[in-house]
Symmetry: C2
Subunit: 185 residues, 2 copies
């Protein structure tokens, strides 16, 4: 599924034939955890069905992001550095994923053109996502960010409780209620 998906969006230059990976198909029920903060398991996932939430636990729990099907799910900093994950990835709907062995991918990186093309492309996409979120945080108000969120991810509003969205925006639930009232008036 993952390699087929990237074949569709990376175009003709992608040497997909040289990517040899054997994922396992797994199911996670709503509420189950795929990656827990503190974990160091060398594994990453490709989301086929469902929605996951990525959070940073702590005194003031922070919701880092939500992911929908056709997303790569990973504690990527942890995989790259070997240090324990700072994030938790949890299913907020019943999920179906492909599970990939990170160590097998590292071996492929030594010789496979396609594996490197795909790894580079995925890393570029992850970078673009984080970079956009960082710049948005620095340069846009919570209200602007909420407006953009409901435009780009209308599903989010239908499927995720308001207090979780507030944590994603980095504001109090009451502030989000005020923003929503203002927008609807």
């Amino acid at each position: 599924m993952m390699i087929e998906y990237f074949k569709g969006i990376m175009g003709a230059g992608f040497d997909s034939e040289s990517v040899v990976l054997e994922p396992k198909l797994l199911k996670f029920a709503k509420g189950e955890v795929l990656v827990k903060a503190g974990d160091t398991d060398p594994v990453f996932y490709f989301l086929i069905k469902g929605i996951v939430e990525v959070s940073i636990p702590g005194e003031k729990e922070w919701i880092y992001d939500f992911f929908f099907p056709n997303s790569v799910l990973a504690a990527y900093s942890s995989l790259l550095t070997g240090k324990p994950s700072k994030i938790t990835i949890a299913a907020i709907e019943d999920c179906v994923v492909e599970a990939y062995d990170w160590t097998a991918l590292q071996k492929q990186y030594k010789t496979s053109l396609g594996a490197n093309q795909m790894g580079r492309f995925i890393t570029e996409q992850i970078f673009l996502l984080r970079s956009k979120r960082e710049i948005d945080f620095l340069s846009k108000s919570a209200e602007q960010r909420y407006e953009e969120l409901i435009q780009s991810q209308p599903d989010l509003i239908l499927n995720i409780p308001v207090h979780r969205i507030a944590r994603y925006l980095g504001i109090h639930p009451e502030s989000l209620s005020r923003i929503r009232k203002k927008m609807n008036s």
Copy 2:
């Protein structure tokens, strides 16, 4: 220089022979701009000498980062998306850089194992940097971030005016003065 540098840190698996790029050696005097917000030039740099500052211009100018020798300098989101750069990269000391043609690298990505290995590695490093900064912003106080900064980059304090460091930390210069007084007392 850049390829030699990555050969040193990427280890034996890196097929550097298959990377064929022809950089130009350029100098930028202190105060000169390498990339300006709004630019779409398909070029990136490798810093050999000097220090650069990456900022996001606007009502409340934001300093995104400082870079020292052996760093790749790029409006990377802009290169990846083709959209105008949101950031400005400026020399804050006299700089010597290698300038690389982004379009030539894209061509290499179609066939060269080494180019993809290097592109993947650079993107991973940029991701790790941005990710650390994002999580630090969400989870640490300005005081903690300042302490870590002077430990990891003591040069920064010697070479960069206090009000620029305050903008990097996202606080008022007066707040930084208070933090510094507190630390020295």
